[in-house]
């Protein structure tokens, strides 16, 4: 599954802020804001993507596009705060015992053109996503197990989805980016008709979407009259929010949060430690094909210091795993400490102590180069020579697959099985740690098709233990996800990106 991130600056943080700022603040307690009020216009700012922005909800994974699609369309499911699936257009679901056929009951919902949602719309949407002739369907990979020929509409409000390989994760996969339900026959992205809380008014790529409240939304009408979703880079977002030209700004830097918290005009809404910053060690080539060396590197990182310096203290140290706080996360594993002496002895034993290691990084995401440089210093304390090399930002994640043995990595919020699927299997297209173990692949397939939840969780935990011990992921920190809103904006919850309450403007109201 694509782990949705913007290319231009994943997090706009800057280095040098070594202040430790505890807590995240900003989340308002119920009652503080008074009674929700109807009306008004909200202008929300997201990192823009220029001409790459699109209204086709199956084609683009920029955050700004996702936010726009979310206003206009709904999915069958979304992800909750812990990344477990929650019902949306699908009211409930059940599967056969082997998790190969799923039956979804649809909610009573209507499209902006007045037509009711039916199973045909769902099957049309899935077929459009899986269309082998279209080059730009994002969710095709994650939903590839769906056997569209065998899916069928049982009655207008019941759909049966058949899989070619069993998966207990189908409800979560249907929440993936690019899996919106469109109207049967949808062909003109410039004229989007969805079931979402806002109806389309106008759109200019790289600039603005204007949408108005859809009064017949199945969840009840939104509070806002009008929603504008606007493109702006980090500085422009900060200036426009503080200058009163917008009420909501997504993806703000810790530096901005610190200055903003000193004033009264802006509130910070931070989801604590919900994304991941990591280094990737290539486990298939020297020196990291030796698990001792990988372990030594994990022991070399001073995680708290990385969090303090690179994240400006807005985050928590990582434990070499993706997905802290998400469903299936193995929190029973002990936190990896820093142990320079032990690292040194492992490196000596492996005979690599004085060999230089190249750290291939890039400016593609704020903090990458800072973290690499700081880690090189920390490794130097054990006598390890790490040389930082900077590559092109536009193609870094592709180049990383073939270049260097040590690199930078970050990931947004996605269910842990999706992360494993896209990063850690022999077949994963973006397997940056080159973690290719047939036995791991097999164990994952078993876990994924296990219907019993407790057993499935146990199997996922075992996979994570293996990764923690021998894998190539050095996850050093989990940054907070920072959004800033004007003082009169209420109803914005601190949640990880890609979850149901993220960029959810139908619950927002102006005081």
């Amino acid at each position: 599954m694509p782990i949705a991130l913007t290319r231009r600056g994943f997090l706009g943080f800057s280095a040098g802020a070594a202040l430790v700022l505890g807590g995240c603040g900003g989340a308002e307690s119920p009652g503080e804001a008074g009674e929700p009020q109807r009306g008004g216009r909200l202008r929300a700012l997201f990192t823009g993507g220029g001409t790459r922005e699109t209204l086709d909800p199956h084609a683009q994974n920029l955050f700004i596009d996702q936010a726009r699609h979310k206003a206009i369309f709904d999915k069958l499911t979304e992800l909750g705060d812990d990344l477990a699936p929650v019902p949306r257009l699908a009211e409930r679901w059940e599967s056969t015992a082997d998790a190969t056929v799923w039956r979804f009951t649809l909610r009573q919902a209507i499209f902006h053109d007045g037509q009711p949602l039916t199973g045909d719309d769902v099957l049309f949407s899935l077929a459009r996503i899986l269309d082998p002739a279209a080059g730009d369907r994002l969710a095709r990979q994650s939903l590839s197990a769906i056997d569209i020929g065998r899916c069928r509409v049982v009655d207008p409000r019941t759909v049966e989805i058949a899989l070619s390989t069993p998966s207990a994760e189908l409800p979560a996969l249907l929440a993936t980016t690019g899996a919106a339900i469109v109207r049967n026959g949808y062909a003109d992205p410039a004229n989007p008709v969805g079931t979402g809380p806002f109806r389309f008014v106008s759109f200019e790529p790289g600039r603005a979407l204007v949408a108005r409240r859809f009064d017949e939304h199945w969840e009840g009408p939104a509070l806002l009259d009008e929603l504008h979703i606007l493109s702006a880079d980090a500085d422009a977002r900060a200036n426009a929010l503080q200058g009163g030209q917008a009420e909501y700004a997504h993806e703000m830097s810790p530096t901005f949060a610190r200055t903003a918290e000193a004033g009264r005009t802006v509130k910070i809404v931070a989801a604590p430690g919900c994304t991941t910053q990591a280094f990737v060690l290539k486990t298939d080539r020297p020196p990291f094909d030796n698990p001792d060396v990988s372990l030594a590197f994990k022991l070399l990182a001073d995680r708290q210091r990385l969090v303090d310096v690179v994240l400006g203290g807005r985050g928590v140290p990582g434990n070499d795993l993706f997905g802290k706080g998400y469903r299936y996360y193995n929190s029973t594993l002990p936190q990896r400490p820093r142990d320079v002496a032990e690292a040194r002895s492992l490196l000596t034993k492996a005979g690599v102590l004085n060999q230089p290691v190249q750290f291939f990084t890039s400016t593609v995401s704020a903090g990458f180069v800072d973290a690499a440089t700081l880690f090189a210093e920390q490794a130097g304390e054990a006598g390890m020579r790490v040389e930082v090399v900077t590559g092109a930002a536009e193609t870094y994640f592709k180049d990383q697959l073939t270049t260097g043995v040590l690199g930078s990595h970050r990931a947004g919020a996605a269910p842990i099985p999706d992360y494993i699927n896209s990063r850690l299997l022999s077949t994963s297209p973006f397997n940056a740690t080159a973690w290719k173990r047939p036995e791991f692949d097999a164990a994952f397939a078993t876990a994924q098709s296990t219907v019993d939840e407790a057993e499935r969780t146990r199997l996922y935990h075992a996979l994570q233990r293996d990764l923690h011990d021998r894998g190539g992921l050095l996850a050093w920190g989990h940054p907070d996800w920072i959004t800033a809103v004007a003082a009169n904006v209420h109803g914005v919850r601190p949640v990880p990106p890609n979850t149901v309450d993220w960029a959810r403007f139908d619950k927002v109201w102006l005081g």
Partner: protein
């Protein structure tokens, strides 16, 4: 004169061809292509390869270049590799904001620079000259992004007098809220007024000391008519030539200003095009820019010739 213009236009055509080849080659040298950049980390290699084939990026670069060049000769600038929009539409959609900025800036810069330069030149060495010269020097030394951020933080965020960005503004907003223009134009003005007024000052001083002016003064030509009829036209020559350069300089400033104020103009489109490896868009935009620069320079030379019809001006 006509021969000169024809000769210059012929030269311009050669320059445009060389530029097109250069821009194409440089874009080709950038790592990755439009297919690579489009998907971030979300696509499999097969998906990227399919898209590359769909966009025709798997064909040899030379072939693609001649395809594009052939299109240009028939007036077709091609389509964006990102969203298939015609390049002419992208140019049309972005040129407005930039043109408004440039025209508004020039409308302020030209009279003010001429006035300041002439005053400083006429009162060479005096208190007025010293203050004008030192203020313009100081302003030249401040990078424009620093200036922009300072102005935003004081005039917009502290005092709340002016909007800080163009976020969400449309063309119509621009007509009804001209205050959007004030800060960007101020930054561009401060960037260009200094060099221009210094050229006018230098030109004024040179003419004041020229033999024909000294002679005219000896003959008792009144000071006012001396300045207006003999000094200023000559003094304007370096100014007008500098103005052509100011045009180029303005472009650099527009890049910075558009980025800081989130203005959806030419520079923003160009940056987006380069980032997305959208070669037809980059080619189209640079072509338009180059034509504009060549025409401005030619116009400047023709104006100089008009002001002071001496043959060497045309060299």
């Amino acid at each position: 004169m006509r021969g000169y213009v024809a000769q210059r236009l012929g030269l311009a055509l050669v320059q445009l061809m060389v530029l097109s080849v250069l821009v194409f080659a440089l874009t080709a040298l950038l790592p990755g292509d439009a297919a690579d950049v489009r998907f971030d980390e979300s696509a499999s290699p097969e998906q990227v390869a399919n898209l590359r084939a769909e966009l025709g990026l798997d064909r040899p670069a030379v072939e693609r270049f001649f395809d594009w060049a052939g299109g240009v000769l028939t007036g077709d600038l091609g389509h964006s590799l990102v969203n298939g929009q015609p390049v002419t539409e992208i140019i049309g959609g972005s040129v407005g904001a930039t043109l408004v900025l440039a025209v508004a800036t020039l409308a302020v810069v030209v009279p003010l620079a001429a006035l300041l330069g002439a005053l400083a030149g006429v009162y060479e060495g005096g208190r007025l000259d010293r203050s004008i010269t030192s203020i313009t020097l100081v302003l030249t030394a401040i990078p424009d992004f620093v200036l922009a951020l300072l102005l935003i933080s004081v005039l917009s965020l502290q005092l709340g007098w002016l909007p800080a960005t163009w976020v969400g503004a449309t063309g119509e907003d621009l007509l009804t809220s001209p205050e959007l223009l004030v800060l960007p134009v101020l930054v561009l003005f401060l960037r260009t007024v200094c060099t221009l007024s210094r050229q006018v000052r230098a030109g004024t001083i040179t003419s004041l000391h020229a033999g024909y002016v000294v002679q005219a003064r000896r003959l008792g030509v009144p000071r006012k008519s001396l300045l207006l009829r003999h000094v200023l036209p000559n003094a304007a020559v370096p100014g007008v030539q500098e103005l052509a350069r100011v045009g180029d300089n303005l472009l650099g400033g527009v890049l910075v200003v558009e980025a800081i104020f989130a203005i959806p103009g030419f520079a923003t489109a160009l940056i987006d095009g380069v980032e997305a490896r959208d070669v037809p868009v980059v080619q189209g935009l640079t072509l338009v820019l180059a034509v504009a620069a060549l025409l401005v320079n030619l116009a400047a030379d023709l104006v100089c010739n008009r002001l002071v019809p001496r043959t060497e001006v045309l060299r």
